[in-house]
């Protein structure tokens, strides 16, 4: 493994790899090495020695950090000023619990966002600028630290979510926000998935600025202490307003189900579980442990969420819905047949997926993200060549070569 501690060091290593046409697996601490397909590369290039917050202006709500900065370190810096990352990036329990260190760069490269995404946008939406090294070994910057700009093509957004296949991110500038004063959750009890999503949609369409909308069917609910399914609706704001809005929502949604309220502590705990997918490990034990499991993150129009959950359950998977029904976190025993049936069903409703964990044989033989239509695949190829002419960055990660 090469772990440079300067941009010049990265540039040098990348230029050498390009000259030798030898592939590099771009990584931080390797917590997400199991995501998508296994990378075929002789050498690993890690950002772990390039860390630290390089600029933090709490008044401006802007933070820049080197890509190897551990997420936890960065969030601690923000919390000391009463601020946080807006998109609430997950620390998936199946990555190894608290022990797994995630790098800031990895979170950005995978565009990982948590429950708050439905209200405040994805991680990508808060990226203001990046510094990165292209496959030519050139240090490139794009965007800056102002809250919006329209000067040229949006390279920063293109690199966010490109899974280390276009360039190596070295520094990222994001917008941050104050931590809301209060948070509370309305719990709707014992709804079917379809009724629950209808209730969540009604909540999201209401004027009450809901910042979390999830549904935990029976097994996932059991993992957070409920013996029947629950739909969760979160409000975050100043204290008086949170209380008022939760009351108003509980009245408005009474036609769907009886509800109870979670106070601050209960709310923080349950949304952390939703964010980190902890119900998957606890409620869906797989023989042989998580090593033998497959874990999916599936994205569909919210109104399709219940059907896909039904399909998944019939295939021996289970999990829960977030983002108002539009995101499914699913786990079950690894099986090629179940995997194909699931992705077929998701394709049929125009959705997408990411395979976040599976035994190696499945990861190499399945489409870990949807196949693209030929026109889009052609664009992807041309963009990749533009950034990385020798094709050295994490080959095979997204699609088979």
């Amino acid at each position: 493994m090469i772990a440079p501690d300067s941009e010049a060091g990265f540039a040098c290593a990348i230029a050498a790899a390009t000259a030798a046409k030898s592939a590099l697996n771009l990584t931080g601490y390797g917590s997400k090495a199991g995501f998508l397909r296994p990378v075929v590369a002789g050498e690993t290039l890690s950002t772990r020695a390039f860390r630290g917050v390089s600029l933090y202006a709490p008044k401006e709500l802007v933070l820049s950090a080197r890509s190897g900065t551990p997420l936890a370190e960065l969030e601690a810096t923000l919390a000391a000023s009463g601020q946080h990352l807006i998109a609430e990036p997950p620390r998936y329990g199946f990555l190894g619990g608290a022990a797994a260190t995630q790098s800031f760069g990895g979170v950005i490269a995978c565009n990982l966002s948590g429950p708050r995404r439905i209200a405040w946008g994805a991680m990508r939406d808060h990226v203001l600028g990046v510094r990165a090294i292209t496959g030519r070994g050139e240090i490139m910057r794009s965007g800056g630290r102002v809250l919006k700009n329209v000067t040229g093509l949006d390279l920063a957004k293109l690199l966010t979510g490109s899974y280390g296949t276009l360039a190596l991110l070295t520094e990222i500038t994001v917008k941050v926000l104050p931590i809301p004063e209060e948070t509370g959750t309305l719990v709707l009890h014992d709804l079917t998935p379809a009724r629950a999503v209808a209730a969540l949609s009604a909540a999201l369409g209401s004027p009450f600025s809901v910042t979390g909308a999830a549904y935990l069917p029976e097994r996932a609910a059991a993992a957070v202490g409920y013996d029947r399914p629950v739909a969760l609706i979160r409000i975050e704001d100043v204290a008086a307003s949170v209380a008022y809005r939760l009351r108003a929502l509980s009245t408005q949604l009474s036609r769907y189900a009886a509800s109870t309220l979670l106070d601050r502590a209960g709310s923080l705990a349950i949304w952390q579980a939703v964010r980190d997918a902890t119900p998957l490990a606890e409620a869906m034990p797989v023989q042989g442990g998580l090593e033998e499991a497959m874990i999916w993150r599936v994205s569909v129009a919210p109104s399709r969420g219940p059907d896909i959950l039904g399909v998944a359950q019939a295939l021996g998977l289970d999990g829960y819905l977030d983002w108002g029904g539009g995101l499914l976190m699913l786990a079950g025993p690894a099986s090629h047949a179940a995997a194909s049936a699931l992705t077929e069903a998701v394709t049929a409703v125009g959705g997408g997926w990411w395979l976040l964990r599976a035994p190696e044989a499945l990861r190499t033989s399945l489409a870990c993200v949807p196949e693209e239509p030929p026109a889009l695949a052609a664009i992807r190829g041309r963009l990749q060549t533009a950034f990385d002419p020798a094709g050295i960055f994490s080959p095979g990660k997204l699609h088979a070569a």
């Binding site: 102002v146 329209v150 004027p207 994205s299």
Partner: protein
């Protein structure tokens, strides 16, 4: 000049929606406020994605430039077909295809305007938040990555587009993103096309994210003795996490113009902040109280809060009419608008520097700003003569240079077009520009899409 075979082929395909009429060519020669007009050889009014694909396929084969035209309200020469060819007018593709109440999204054709959209959405209790000062098309707003007065709360086009249907230079039709909440699983082509100013593809359909009309809306206004006090108030309000929907700054000169133009009563020609709050009745009142406490601390006076629709609308209409009010304050003068953005901690400094530059130039100007994000417009008023226009242009260059020195950008929302190309190198550096050029070449190898925009290409002349 178009060849006969092109004229024949396009006439056959589009009938009288292929036009070489001088009046059509003249109206498609420029956007709003653009001195460097250049006419297209013909205008095509498209009605369907397939038509756009057929047109691009022909133009790609025959190396004919194509410049998309929405409502033509862009301000930096974006729509000017500097190399002639076809101006592709999308304004007649104006169908709202599907409002999905449950999923809070809508699919529209590119020529739908933002007012048309919101008047349809109102019946559903929904709205689309991005509101540039002109009644632009959704396609044009995507292409320029437009934003408006409530970007701080709801984001810009970048955050509110879920997916696109677009036609690439060679006529290939692609769908990016989609109905789903989470954007694409591959590269984010949606965000690549947003803000590409018609240089990478023609957008024909857009899936937009919607919001519920807030239960209650409140507006407030507050006046200050100086710019710095107003800006400090804004910084503190944003930092304290009050979820303000809009905060706009208006300087003393603009207030004088707006008081006269919009017949505002009880206000003085002083630096002013306008607010809008969205939420429940209780939270709107509470947000206003918190904002008032902060502005008072900074010496703000005459904080007035209104919830009645009529009072709110009068105030915000005055803000929306600022451009026309400025123009009316100097009859016969022309207006040129700057668009710099700076880190908000440098905003007061940036406005002071711009004011000083205006004073040195001997021209008049009004300042308005989307201060929540550090973006402000100096509306330079100048006699309609070439000499004065040159001074206004020089003043704009100076204000941009000031913003770049403060760590800002040459444009916060209007875009690059022809007018801001020279600043990109300094803002992004050569490697990023080389990547932009490589992407342009990858998607439009023959360079037929809106040639001459965004990138200063040494090989191709502008006019």
């Amino acid at each position: 000049m178009l060849h006969d075979q092109t004229i024949q082929a396009l006439t056959q395909r589009f009938g009288d929606r292929f036009s070489q009429h001088p009046a059509h060519c003249a109206t498609h020669a420029h956007g709003e406020a653009n001195p460097a007009a250049h006419q297209p050889d013909a205008v095509v009014f498209a009605h369907a994605t397939e038509e756009v694909a057929a047109l691009l396929n022909h133009c790609h084969t025959h190396h004919i430039p194509v410049t998309a035209f929405g409502a033509g309200t862009s301000l930096e020469g974006h729509v000017t077909p500097v190399q002639g060819g076809i101006s592709l007018d999308l304004s007649q593709m104006n169908q709202i295809l599907a409002v999905n109440d449950a999923d809070l999204d809508v699919r529209v054709q590119a020529g739908v305007t933002r007012r048309q959209l919101n008047s349809t959405l109102r019946d559903h209790g929904l709205f689309f938040p991005v509101d540039p000062g002109a009644d632009s098309t959704i396609g044009g707003m995507c292409a320029t990555r437009a934003s408006g007065t409530n970007a701080v709360r709801y984001g810009t086009m970048r955050e509110n587009v879920l997916g696109l249907r677009a036609v690439l230079a060679d006529g290939t039709i692609v769908d990016t993103g989609g109905r789903v909440r989470k954007s694409s699983t591959g590269y984010d082509l949606t965000r690549l096309l947003i803000g590409s100013e018609g240089t990478l593809g023609i957008i024909t359909e857009i899936q937009l994210r919607l919001f519920g009309i807030p239960e209650a809306t409140g507006a407030a206004i507050c006046q200050f003795a100086g710019v710095a006090a107003a800006v400090s108030s804004v910084i503190e309000i944003i930092q304290s996490g009050i979820p303000v929907a809009r905060i706009e700054f208006v300087d003393a000169a603009q207030m004088a113009a707006s008081i006269a133009y919009s017949k505002l009563i009880g206000l003085q020609a002083l630096p002013t902040l306008l607010f809008e709050f969205h939420g429940s009745a209780a939270s709107v009142a509470e947000q206003a109280q918190q904002a008032e406490a902060i502005t008072t601390e900074h010496g703000g006076a005459a904080f007035a809060f209104a919830t009645a629709a009529e009072d709110r609308n009068r105030l915000w209409q005055a803000r929306h009419d600022a451009f026309w009010a400025a123009r009316a304050s100097r009859p016969g003068y022309a207006v040129f608008t700057t668009d710099t953005i700076v880190p908000i901690s440098r905003l007061a400094e940036a406005i002071a520097q711009a004011d000083a530059a205006v004073a040195r130039s001997g021209l008049d100007a009004c300042v308005v700003g989307h201060v929540g994000d550090g973006n402000f417009h100096v509306m330079i008023l100048f006699p309609d003569t070439p000499e004065a226009a040159a001074r206004a242009w020089a003043l704009d260059r100076e204000i941009v240079a000031q913003a770049l020195d403060l760590g800002g950008a040459s444009s916060g929302e209007h875009g690059v077009g022809l007018g801001k190309r020279e600043f990109l190198q300094r803002e992004h550096g050569a490697p990023a520009l080389a990547m932009m050029r490589a992407i342009k070449t990858a998607l439009d190898p023959r360079g037929i899409l809106n040639p001459g925009k965004i990138l200063l290409d040494p090989l191709v002349s502008d006019c």
